[in-house]
Subunit: 146 residues, 2 copies
């Protein structure tokens, strides 16, 4: 992310470990030419791709299929001024292969609400970045972040 | 946000009340032609503009000045399958007026880390949207979201 602001950069493996324990993340994309962000439940596939589940006819599925998106998860302790943030950037695709859809129906992310007909969205983990702030202590300063 | 997915849409005033109690949000923008998202502390100005504070020479300040961004905050209870999400979409500007900078230094958002020289970023609340899910109960279904 931003290398000029004094937060500790996390390695790819550290990022993936943190992502696994996050209950929810946020998909960031463009919708009607405006930046859009939506909280989503998710899980990681065996190859670390981010897997989401949404309604087949949703705006989300239409907006992100085939385009590069960002997916973010974080955990922030406002009292302790500490936390972490991880961002996965990569191409999103709606899973159309029936066998793959079947596999993800068994092992993929669950919905919190009932869905008449759903699809899975896969985000390739092309770029995995993260940063951490522990108790507000950094070598030098910037800002607000985290 | 998405009107076809069964979540309860929140009114502007409801959204602003929820934003006030959120300790952290996320600014969504474009960086090097890729979607970018960064957790930030913030507060609301008297006219409901979102106020952030960052280092004057940060990538964030350079990336968002003068462009339309999204700012998101949420609160999710993974056990109860409930939560809310609010998004403010509008033009971001770095505050350059010295009097305004002085006012925000006294009343604006605080940094969690020391900053050698900082600026305030103001996001106009042109579009304020939000949605809520209470205990997974919705009239009809979609997806994963929240």
């Amino acid at each position: 992310m931003y290398s000029d602001d004094g937060f500790r950069e996390l390695g790819r493996q550290e990022c993936l470990v943190l992502l696994v324990r996050a209950p929810v993340g946020r998909i960031v994309h463009t919708r009607h030419a405006l930046p859009a962000v939506l909280p989503v439940t998710f899980c990681l596939d065996a190859d670390s791709a981010v897997l989401l589940r949404t309604a087949a006819d949703s705006d989300l599925a239409r907006s992100v299929d085939g385009v590069v998106v960002a997916f973010e998860a974080d955990e922030v302790d406002a009292r302790a001024h500490s936390g972490w943030s991880v961002v996965v950037t990569g191409r999103a695709t709606v899973v159309t292969d029936p066998a793959e859809h079947g596999r993800l129906s068994r092992t993929g992310p669950r919905s919190w609400v009932a869905t008449p007909r759903d699809v899975f969205i896969r985000i390739e983990p092309e770029l995995v970045t993260g940063r951490e702030l522990v108790g507000g202590r950094t070598a030098y300063g910037v800002d607000l972040s985290l």
